[in-house]
C-alpha cells in the first residue's frame, strides 16, 4: 500500500473557509494580473460606490428629516410617521424579493454550469460547505447592491428618528439573514427547475427574458411620456401614495416582521421589537437550513439528471434521412434554393444558412435583435404622436423652416428606421466574426476566400436589418399616408444607408474580433468594435444627408422635385456604396490572419 494517509476534514466551517479563501485568491489573482487600466477602473469604481453610499445616506437623512417636518404634515393633511415606519418594511421586503429572483440566474450558473462542481463534489469537502460557498458567491453582488442602496436609507431613517443604538447592528444582521434565506430558497427553486428542464436551456431562456425585460424597463419612462399627459401631483395623490405604501405594513405578512421589529426596537418598544426581530432571524435560519439540507438531496439527482439529459438520445422516432435524393425539396423551395445556388457560391450559402440556424437556435442570441425592435416600437409611437412637430405650421414662418419641418415630418421615419437598423447592425455586423467564437478554426481551415466569408457575413447582418427596415417603413408610411414616391425613395435611402453601415461595422468587427468567449452575452468586438459603432453612427446622418439634402435645396429654390430625387439618389448611392464596399475590401488581408495571436 502506498500514498499519503489523508484524513478528510468533515468540519463545516474550516471547509467553508478553505473554499472562500480559494475564491478570494482567484479574485485577487484576476485583479493582480489585470491590465493597469482595468485596475484603475476597478479602484475608481470602488471609490465611486463608497461616495455614492455616503451620498444616499445624507440624502435619506435629509429627506426623512423633511418628511417628519410639520410643514409636510400640514400639506398632506395627515401625520407621515406611520409611513416612515413602513420604510424599513418596504426596504427589507424589496431586498428579500430582489435577491430571491436575481439569485436564480447566478445560482443556476454557479451550481450547474460553472464547470468546477465536478471537482468540488469529488473533493473530500462536505457538500454543505460547497453549497454555502456557492450561495455566498452567488448572492454577494446582489447583497452588495442591496447594502449600497438599503443600508444608507435605513441608517438615515434611524438617525432622523433618533433610534436606539441597537437598531444599527441589527439592521445589518437582519439584512444578512434575509439575504441568505432568499438565496437558499432561490437555490431550491433552481434545483427544482433543473430536475425538469436541462439547465443550459433554462439559462438560455432566462438570458433572453432578462435582456428583454431590462430593455422594457429601461424604456418604461419613454412609454410613460408617450402615453401620459401632463401630470400634476396634488396633496390628495401624495396622501393616496402614502396610504398605498402603508398597506404593505401588516402584521400578517412575515416579510414585514423584520422592518416592523427594527422600528419598534429603535423606538424603544423592546418586547414587540425583540420578538419580531428574533422571529425573523429564526425563520431565516430555518429557511436557510432547510434549503441546505434539501439541496444536498436534490442537487445530486438534478446533477445526475443533467448528465443523462445531456448525453441521452433525445429522439425516439426514427432518424429522418435528409439526403438530396431521398427527400426532394418541394417545388417552390427547390426553385428558390436553385436560384440562390446560382446567385451565390455554395460556401457563402453554407455560412449564411449556418449563421441563421445558430442565431435561431441559441435563444440568448435573440435578446440582442429584440432590443432594436423594442426601441423601434417605442420611438415610432413617440414620433407618430400628434403634436410632435419641430416647427408647428404658422403663416409667419420663414420658408426654409417650413421646408425643414415638412422634410423632418416626411423623412423622420427613415431616420428612425436607420437608427433601429444601426442598433441591430451593431450586433449582427459588428460582432459577425466574434460570433464564430472558438469554432472559427472550421472556417479558417476550409478553402473559403476572405471575400466569400465577408460576403456571407455581410448578408447575414444586412438581410434581417433590411427586412426590419422595410416592415418599419411600410408600417410608418401607411400610418402617415405617405405618397408612393416618398415611400419608394425612403426605401431606397434606408436600404442603401443600411448597406453602408453594414460594411463599416463589419470591417471594424474584423479588426476587433474576439473569439475567446463561451457565453454569447459576453461576446464583443473590443475597443475597435466600439469605434466602428461610433463611425457607423456618424456615417448614418452623412449618408442620409446626401439623400435628403438635395430635396431640401430644391424645396428652398422652388425647383422641380424630381431633380431633388435624382440628385439625392445619385449622391446617396455613391456614399452608401463606398461605405458598403470599401471597408470590407480593406480588411480582406486581415481576415486571412484572424485568430493567430
Amino acid at each position: 500500500m502506498n500514498g499519503l494517509s489523508i484524513q478528510p476534514s468533515g468540519r463545516l466551517f474550516p471547509s467553508i473557509w478553505k473554499l472562500i479563501r480559494l475564491r478570494l485568491l482567484l479574485n485577487w489573482n484576476a485583479f493582480k494580473h489585470a491590465r493597469t487600466r482595468r485596475k484603475v477602473v476597478t479602484i475608481v469604481l470602488v471609490i465611486l460606490a463608497l461616495a455614492f453610499t455616503g451620498f444616499i445616506f445624507f440624502l435619506s437623512w435629509l429627506l426623512l428629516g423633511f418628511l417628519r417636518s410639520a410643514k409636510l404634515t400640514q400639506y398632506v393633511g395627515f401625520d407621515v410617521a406611520p409611513f416612515l415606519q413602513s420604510v424599513p418594511v418596504l426596504v427589507f421586503a424589496l431586498i428579500f424579493l430582489g435577491i430571491l429572483f436575481s439569485s436564480f440566474g447566478v445560482l443556476l450558473q454557479a451550481l450547474y454550469l460553472s464547470g468546477d462542481m465536478d471537482f468540488l463534489l469529488t473533493s473530500p469537502v462536505p457538500i454543505r460547505a460547497v453549497f454555502v460557498t456557492k450561495l455566498l458567491q452567488a448572492v454577494l453582488p446582489s447583497f452588495g447592491l442591496a447594502a449600497l442602496f438599503g443600508l444608507p436609507v435605513l441608517y438615515g431613517l434611524g438617525l432622523s428618528g433618533h433610534y436606539n443604538f441597537l437598531y444599527y447592528p441589527l439592521v445589518l444582521l437582519t439584512m444578512v439573514a434575509l439575504t441568505l434565506a432568499a438565496a437558499g430558497i432561490s437555490a431550491l427553486l433552481v434545483m427544482l427547475v433543473a430536475r425538469l428542464v436541462p439547465p443550459r436551456r433554462v439559462a438560455e431562456v432566462l438570458g433572453f427574458l432578462t435582456a428583454t425585460l431590462s430593455i422594457l424597463c429601461s424604456q418604461s419612462g419613454n412609454l410613460y411620456n408617450t402615453l401620459g399627459r401632463n401630470v400634476t401631483i396634488s396633496g390628495s395623490q401624495v396622501n393616496g401614495a402614502f396610504a398605498l405604501l402603508m398597506r404593505f405594513n401588516t402584521p400578517w405578512n412575515p416579510l414585514d416582521w423584520a422592518g416592523a421589529g427594527l422600528v419598534a426596537l429603535g423606538e424603544g418598544r423592546w418586547l414587540p421589537g425583540f420578538g419580531l426581530v428574533a422571529l425573523t432571524l429564526g425563520l431565516a435560519a430555518l429557511a436557510f437550513s432547510f434549503a441546505l439540507a434539501t439541496s444536498e438531496r436534490w442537487y445530486y439527482s438534478g446533477w445526475a439528471g443533467m448528465q443523462v439529459v445531456t448525453y441521452k438520445k433525445k429522439s425516439t422516432r426514427p432518424a429522418r434521412v435528409k439526403t438530396a435524393t431521398a427527400q426532394p425539396e418541394s417545388g417552390a423551395v427547390s426553385l428558390a434554393g436553385a436560384q440562390m445556388r446560382r446567385l451565390l457560391p455554395a460556401p457563402i450559402l453554407a455560412v449564411i444558412q449556418k449563421d441563421f440556424l445558430l442565431m435561431r437556435r441559441d435563444i440568448r442570441n435573440m435578446s440582442q435583435p429584440v432590443t432594436p425592435l423594442i426601441f423601434g416600437i417605442f420611438y415610432t409611437v413617440m414620433f407618430l404622436r400628434p403634436g410632435n412637430a419641430m416647427f408647428p405650421d404658422s403663416p409667419d414662418m420663414p420658408g426654409i423652416f417650413s421646408t425643414i419641418s415638412h422634410l423632418i415630418a416626411s423623412y423622420g421615419n427613415i431616420g428612425m428606421s436607420l437608427f433601429v437598423g444601426w442598433m441591430l447592425l451593431s450586433r449582427l455586423a459588428g460582432m459577425a466574426f466574434s460570433a464564430e467564437g472558438r469554432n472559427y478554426w472550421m472556417l479558417k481551415a476550409s478553402p473559403l476566400r476572405p471575400a466569400q466569408l465577408l460576403t456571407a457575413k455581410f448578408l447575414v447582418a444586412y438581410l434581417p436589418t433590411l427586412a426590419l427596415g422595410v416592415v418599419f417603413m411600410v408600417t410608418v408610411s401607411i400610418l402617415q399616408k405617405a405618397s408612393m414616391a416618398m415611400f419608394l425613395y425612403g426605401l431606397l435611402a434606408t436600404s442603401l444607408c443600411q448597406a453602408g453601415m453594414t460594411g463599416i461595422l463589419l470591417a471594424f468587427g474584423v479588426g476587433g474580433a474576439n473569439f475567446n468567449w463561451t457565453d454569447p452575452r459576453r461576446m464583443n468586438a473590443g475597443a475597435i468594435g466600439c469605434l466602428g459603432q461610433a463611425l457607423a453612427g456618424l456615417f448614418l446622418p452623412i449618408a442620409f444627408g446626401f439623400f435628403v439634402g438635395p430635396l431640401l435645396l430644391v424645396g428652398i429654390f422652388n425647383w422641380p422635385q424630381v431633380y431633388g430625387y435624382l440628385a439625392g439618389a445619385l449622391a446617396g448611392v455613391a456614399v452608401s456604396a463606398t461605405g458598403a464596399l470599401l471597408p470590407p475590401w480593406l480588411v480582406q488581408k486581415r481576415v486571412e490572419r484572424l485568430n493567430e495571436d
Binding site: 472558438r438 469554432n439 479558417k444 473559403l448
Partner: protein, 226 residues
C-alpha cells in the same frame, strides 16, 4: 505504403511568439500512404507545427507545402486537399451532426449528391447515425471527436492532420479511429498525427518524428529510432 509522392513538406519552419521560439527550424517530409506520428512532450511545439500545416498559423519563416501547394501563397488549394482534426473538438454546438457535415461539405463545394452520400457514409462508419439529428451540445466528448473526424473526412482529403486524436476516447472509438486512419493511408492519404504517448505512436504510425523544445530531434521508423 501505397505510393511515394511527397504530400507534406516542411522546410526550415520557424514560429516565434515574441522572444519565445515555439518551433525552430523543423524540416521533414511525409509521403502519400504514410501514417506519420509527431511525438513530443506537452509544450514541445506539436500543435503549433500542425496549425502551420493546415494554415491556421503563419510561420515566422520557412515553408510548408501540402500536396505540392505552398500553404502561404496558395492557401485555398492547400486547404482544399487537407483535413484537420484539432485536439479540442470545438464544433458549432447548436448544429446537429448531420447539419455540421452538410455545412462542411458545402464549404468544400461538394455537389449535392456526393454530399448526401458522403454524409450518410461517414455517420454510419463513425457510429453517429443515431445521434445525427441531435445538436452537438448533447454529444459526449468521444462523439464530438468522431464528429470532428467526420467533418475532416467529408471531402476525402489527400492529407489528414490530427492533433492528439485519441485523447479522451474509449478503447472502441480509439480502435475505430486507428482503423480509419490505416484505411485512409492504404488509399494513398498522408496521415500526420501528433501524440505525446509513445505506445500510440508505436501502434499507429509508419514513421515517427520526435520534437522537443520546438526542435525536431529525430525522424525514422520505430526500429530505426530504437
Amino acid at each position: 505504403m501505397a505510393n511515394s509522392a511527397t504530400l507534406i513538406e516542411m522546410q526550415a519552419l520557424v514560429k516565434r511568439y515574441g522572444d519565445k521560439v515555439a518551433v525552430n527550424n523543423v524540416s521533414l517530409e511525409v509521403q502519400a500512404g504514410e501514417v506519420f506520428g509527431f511525438l513530443g512532450p506537452n509544450g514541445a511545439g506539436k500543435t503549433t507545427t500542425i496549425k502551420m500545416i493546415v494554415g491556421l498559423l503563419q510561420p515566422t519563416s520557412g515553408t510548408v507545402r501540402v500536396a505540392g501547394y505552398d500553404v502561404q501563397t496558395q492557401p485555398l488549394l492547400a486547404k482544399a486537399v487537407s483535413g484537420y482534426v484539432p485536439d479540442t473538438p470545438n464544433l458549432y454546438a447548436k448544429l446537429t451532426g448531420r447539419e455540421l457535415l452538410r455545412f462542411v461539405g458545402d464549404l468544400y463545394s461538394l455537389d449535392r449528391q456526393r454530399l448526401a452520400q458522403r454524409t450518410e457514409e461517414l455517420l454510419r462508419v463513425l457510429d453517429l447515425n443515431e445521434a445525427a439529428d441531435q445538436t452537438i451540445d448533447s454529444y459526449s466528448h468521444g462523439m464530438q471527436q468522431k464528429a470532428s473526424l467526420a467533418a475532416a473526412l467529408m471531402h476525402d482529403p489527400k492529407v489528414l492532420v490530427l492533433d492528439e486524436p485519441t485523447v479522451g476516447l474509449d478503447p472502441k472509438s480509439a480502435r475505430l479511429i486507428k482503423d480509419i486512419l490505416r484505411q485512409m493511408a492504404e488509399r494513398g492519404t498522408a496521415v500526420f498525427l501528433s501524440t505525446h504517448i509513445l505506445e500510440i505512436a508505436e501502434r499507429m504510425c509508419d514513421r515517427i518524428g520526435i520534437i522537443d523544445k520546438g526542435e525536431l530531434v529525430a525522424v525514422g521508423t520505430m526500429q530505426e529510432l530504437r
